[in-house]
């Protein structure tokens, strides 16, 4: 069931879905660097996250993926470089500032309160209030409609406590929360790490649907199957630097593994359109 893109030649199959629009990128990263003491977690990172596309970010443990997510979601600021949001350089000082701009981050476990129900979680921090009193009926209506729009059908009730949901259902709630917040960029940090086969399929489906709706989507994953199923574009981080970036058609699982583990790939076709910077040092005599 996993689509292994082009193990013989380049994938000839059309993209998983008609990639609508694309073109403009709400978020550009330019020359981003971040270090923790002596550890250079990221250096001179350039990355575009185009609207309507799923960009997968790959890299080995400690490559700097989570650090990059945290910069984008306002948890801390870069040492150097600029974050350009819809054409303007921005400073993201808090998670709240990032989410107010339209950047939503879906974390694996930290984003939901187990003791609150689905509606309460989806509206957490932006409750609908009428003269000081929360309008529960209105919130429930909007939450149900959002979940329906996303074709999330596995929840028996929006008044279920989140504690009683499965991992995939929790991801669905977190995604719906991002959608309801009118996010223009949704970042997923290892969205399928703890999920079984069918729940993974459901979450990947959701991710694709967000891109179809015109959002820019970034997915971090260690699972190449998932990445090749859902991503339009790939970026590989190696020791804090972008080792390769481009449309998924330029990659196959074998060269991606090379890029992740060594930062370069001999198997990479040099004339590949859209490929940038990969293995340049290697080519120089």
């Amino acid at each position: 069931m996993a689509q292994t893109a082009g193990n013989s030649s380049y994938p000839t199959a059309p993209p998983l879905r008609p990639s609508g629009g694309g073109g403009e990128s709400p978020l550009l990263l330019r020359g981003i660097a971040k270090s923790f003491g002596a550890v250079q977690a990221l250096s001179s990172v350039d990355l575009d996250l185009p609207a309507g596309k799923v960009t997968a970010l790959l890299g080995d443990n400690g490559a700097g993926k989570s650090t990059l997510v945290k910069l984008i979601s306002g948890i801390f600021a870069p040492d150097e470089g600029s974050i350009i949001w819809e054409g303007e350089p921005v400073r993201l000082r808090t998670p709240k500032e990032a989410s107010e701009l339209g950047i939503a981050t879906v974390y694996q476990d930290l984003a939901l309160c187990d003791n609150l129900d689905v509606v309460q979680n989806m509206f957490l921090g932006r409750e609908i209030v009428r003269s000081g009193v929360m309008d529960e009926a209105e919130m429930e209506t909007v939450a149900s409609r959002t979940l329906e729009d996303l074709s999330v059908t596995t929840l028996s009730s929006t008044r279920q406590l989140v504690a009683s949901l499965s991992g995939g259902q929790r991801q669905a709630v977190a995604v719906a929360k991002a959608v309801m917040a009118r996010a223009r960029l949704v970042v997923f940090d290892e969205p399928t790490a703890a999920l079984g086969v069918s729940q993974t399929a459901m979450v990947l489906d959701l991710i694709s649907r967000l891109a179809d709706a015109g959002m820019a989507v970034m997915v971090i994953s260690h699972n190449l199957n998932d990445v090749f199923r859902v991503a339009d574009r790939l970026a590989v981080l190696y020791l804090g630097q972008i080792a390769a970036e481009g449309p998924i058609s330029g990659f196959d699982p074998a060269n991606v593994v090379d890029l992740i583990t060594t930062g370069k790939s001999a198997r990479l076709a040099p004339s590949q359109p859209g490929m940038e910077a990969a293995g340049k040092e290697e080519e120089q005599p």
Binding site: T94, C113, N115, L116, G125, E140, E148, S157, T158
Partner: protein
């Protein structure tokens, strides 16, 4: 499916899955399922309360007399108020060990300011007492939230420190004699010892029950109109009916003459006072953003932070409200005794406050609890206290029985939790 269809024709499967089934049989089936899986709500504590009442009534026939039941309500008021103070802090996943002596400060400040040479009017003295305890809550809350000190330690220091402050305050008060400040203001003494007229009791009860009925049935009607799942009418009416019945029984009991030589009847003022605090905190915790954020922080502080909630502010306000409520408890305590003394046992009071909240069903780990839990738990403790007193058993057996009740309550909770996971 996500929400119940607007039509009443639901399949059986939906009734089982949806949290609020729209038929009576579906509701009962679901209730049984929830009780089995540990989400039984306040039923265990209600059952426990009835059991204790039956035991005491069998042992002592005067237990259920109107005079004793009214007395029990008055005794329970302080436990209930302090329990509600504790609920605010427990919901955050913190604990407050100081509220017994904070209550003492509230009562002490009021008593001293009522007496000469200050002779403040009652409202100013009570207001000062409440401001003082709210400020104490704010200071302790600030230490916990801004400096990140453990609440256990900060309020343990409070437990020691505020007793010292109370003793100093009363010792230096010109009106104190032998470590006691008497309260001669009638309004303040009547908070507990005065009664509503029988007619006022009926009118007040009818108003309260009508307001509750309007809110409950109106809310369900609103959900129905929007096509959201709502309680079956039979259940909604049952809730209102039980509340009305409880109100009628309460007023009937209190309006029975319980005096020996002079007629003494009517609902004690303290009952509507406690009810008002209960209604206010229930509304705040259940219907406002602030309340929602208290639960969110107790459930998952990191998630709350990422949702943009100002944790420092919400936590500090919760500690402040806890202090305020403790002050109200202290004033009621002082009103009941007609004085404030350095001998107030704040250490035992705070333990009873925690016990009241936990017996009622509030979790020590944060995120789960209600003002109602303090009311029910406080009544359980008052019942034990009162019943043991009637049976002529002293403090020793009262402590032991309360301990057993507390252990029973957390055991029920632990089992419920285990079957939930």
């Amino acid at each position: 499916m996500i929400s119940a269809p607007p039509g009443a024709s639901e399949s059986e499967a939906n009734e089982v899955a949806s949290p609020v089934p729209s038929s009576l049989s579906g509701f009962l089936r679901q209730w049984a399922r929830r009780a089995r899986s540990g989400e039984s709500g306040v039923l265990p504590v209600l059952g426990g309360l009835i059991l204790i009442v039956v035991i005491f009534q069998v042992q002592s026939p005067v237990f259920l007399s109107p005079a004793n039941l009214t007395n029990l309500l008055v005794q329970g008021a302080v436990f209930v108020l302090l329990g509600m103070a504790e609920v605010f802090v427990l919901l955050l996943g913190e604990i407050d060990l100081s509220i017994g002596f904070v209550a003492g400060i509230g009562g002490g400040v009021a008593a001293i300011l009522l007496a000469s040479p200050y002779n403040l009017p009652w409202w100013a003295a009570l207001g000062a007492g409440l401001v003082a305890t709210a400020a104490i809550g704010a200071v302790q809350g600030t230490l916990v939230t801004r400096l990140g000190l453990p609440s256990f330690v900060v309020t343990l220091a409070g437990l020691l420190g505020w007793e010292g402050v109370l003793i100093t305050m009363i010792d230096h008060s010109p009106s104190a004699s032998g470590g006691v400040v008497r309260i001669s203001n009638n309004v303040v003494n009547d908070l507990v010892n005065g009664n509503l007229s029988p007619l006022a009791g009926w009118i007040g009860m009818i108003l309260v029950v009508s307001a509750y009925a309007l809110a409950t049935l109106g809310g369900e009607q609103k959900r129905r109109k929007r096509g959201l799942s709502a309680l079956p009418w039979s259940i909604a009416m049952l809730k209102v009916g039980i509340t009305a019945l409880a109100g009628v029984v309460l007023v009937l009991i209190c309006n029975t003459n319980r005096g020996h030589f002079v007629s003494l009847r009517g609902v004690p003022w303290v009952v509507p006072i406690v009810l008002a605090v209960f209604a206010g905190w229930t509304f705040l915790l259940g219907r406002t953003r602030f309340g929602r954020y208290v639960y969110a922080i107790g459930g998952n502080a990191e998630a709350a932070r990422r949702a943009g909630i100002n944790l420092l502010r919400v936590r500090t306000i919760a500690f402040t409200l806890s202090g305020l409520t403790a002050g109200a408890g202290g004033i009621i305590y002082a009103s009941r005794l007609g004085s404030m003394s350095v001998g107030i046992d704040g250490g035992t009071l705070v333990l009873y406050a925690v016990a009241a909240a936990v017996i009622g069903g509030t979790s020590l780990f944060g995120g789960r609890g209600k003002a109602l839990h303090a009311v029910l738990g406080g009544l359980v403790i008052a019942t034990v206290y009162n019943g043991m007193g009637l049976l002529g058993m002293g403090a020793a057996s009262q402590y032991m029985v309360t301990a057993l009740v507390l252990v029973a309550a957390v055991t029920v909770d632990a089992f419920a939790r285990r079957s939930r996971n």
